[in-house]
């Protein structure tokens, strides 16, 4: 695959086992460049595990992950660093550094990449915070932020280095519907402003309807469905309709 391929990320036969349990049983997925893919699936179904493989936080037992044509599944920590610089990640609880205020959290990637010009850092932090609607909160410590604000600050940190891809791990989990809507709008806004490829892991159908260009459904460690949002909603597959409508057959 060339670096200019339509797919930014290509995953082939990805397998992972945790504590003796097969979590991923051969995932195959292409993620198109510049679009938003929502990965749906039940809680505990391996969505976050899959996402962590895309940035090298977990190493698969077998399979291939190619990002812009580069195989990353076998790279070590140091070799992964250039790949990680192209990708931003929003963790489920934000994962802000609690010893730093919002400004320092957002400025952290710039400082770590050698930026020493304080004016450039201030300008870039201000722009990132403006994009996530968090101006004026620079001096707050993470502990003093609400759940939604923490996620927005973490998002500002993820986008400050202008990555070509952003990974969202359950971006609306634990948030009320209003804040969830704000986060969903932000995901769309960032995609239109920064033209990034976004991969959103969620089980929230409202969020999916807001942000998705493409949808994939992970079930029992494999991709059960891929397609457009429209094709997801028009599907007659029992598994998909159950998931969309939130029907459980476990207790009948």
């Amino acid at each position: 695959m060339s670096a200019t391929s339509v797919n930014l990320i290509e995953v082939r036969d990805l397998k992972q086992t945790l504590s003796g349990q097969e979590i991923l049983r051969g995932v195959n997925l292409d993620i198109p460049r510049g679009e938003t893919l929502v990965l749906l699936g039940q809680s505990g179904g391996g969505k976050s595990v899959f996402l962590r493989h895309l940035i090298g936080l977990m190493r698969p037992i077998s399979g291939s992950i190619r990002i812009e044509g580069e195989e990353i599944a076998k790279l070590d920590e140091r070799e992964l660093e250039p790949v990680r610089r192209k990708i931003g990640m929003l963790f489920q609880d934000g994962a802000l550094f609690d010893s730093m205020d919002v400004f320092e959290n957002v400025a952290f990637p710039l400082r770590e990449r050698g930026e020493r010009n304080e004016k450039i850092i201030r300008d870039k932090v201000a722009r990132s915070l403006e994009l996530v609607l968090l101006q004026g909160q620079e001096r707050k410590m993470p502990v003093n932020l609400s759940g939604g604000m923490r996620k927005r600050a973490a998002l500002a940190r993820a986008i400050i280095s202008e990555p070509s891809c952003i990974l969202y791990d359950e971006p609306t989990a634990g948030l009320d519907p209003i804040v969830s809507d704000t986060i969903n709008r932000l995901i769309r806004r960032l995609q239109s402003h920064l033209h990034v490829t976004s991969i959103v892991v969620t089980h929230d159908m409202t969020s999916t309807d807001h942000v998705a260009d493409h949808v994939a459904l992970l079930r029992e460690g494999r991709i059960h469905f891929t397609g457009s949002l429209a094709s997801l909603h028009s599907s007659t597959d029992q598994v998909i309709t159950d998931f969309i409508e939130g029907r459980s057959h476990e207790i009948d």
């Binding site: 660093e81 990680r84 609880d93 994962a95 770590e112």
Partner: protein
Amino acid sequence: MKFVYTFPLTRAFCLYLGQVALLALETFKSILAGRVRWRLVIYQIVEIGFGSQAVVIITGIFTGAVFTAQIFFQFDALNMSTAVGPVVSIALFRELGPVLTGLMVAGRVGAAMSAEIGTMKVTEQIDALRALAVNPVDYLVVPRAVAMLISMPLLVGECICFGLLASYFVATQILNVASVFFVHHMWVYTHGKEIVMAMTKGFVFAIIVVFIGCQQGLSTKNGAVGVGRSTTEAVVISSLSILMINFFLTMGLNIIFPAGGRY
């Protein structure tokens, strides 16, 4: 190798030792490669070195004072009260100073390192570092290791100095040992090799505390309970390691720097 796999405890011990050794190896490789964030090193020197001074000074003062009193009570009956100075001095330099400083720093700093890194681990902050293309060993362990290797020998020296001052005060002002004999005998029987031994032990104990503390933090699992367990284990393992390794250090260093002699 069969022995290792036959006994689960032996296996766990070897595995743990291997993890600590690998962390130490990676840290020293990073230091040699120049991946040292000096701003963080200075911050850690303040946290570890400056922040531990009160604990170390108090430890030194009261250890020197009580040891002086006990030695005096025993030696005075034999009319050897002027030998208190050299006995306390050699004990402080060779054993008490380094070991007690090591234990105090393990309790204060080793626990803090483990808790801080452990909390970062369970709240995905370490994964966030990795996702931001920052190596957690370079960012978290290297500054702590460099700061500890600088601070610990200095803290050992500080503990010994305050121990000797307290010893001098107790011996001459409370127990009426002649000041001139106390100082003279201490000076004659305390050599450069005692200082080298103290600093060597301080350096080794710094390595023990920092790598056990950081390894415990980095391997933390299971939320708040895990952080508590890691912190406790960091203190217990590093304290026991200091006490055990101190014996072998004493035996080894005594071959290089034999005790006794006037010079």
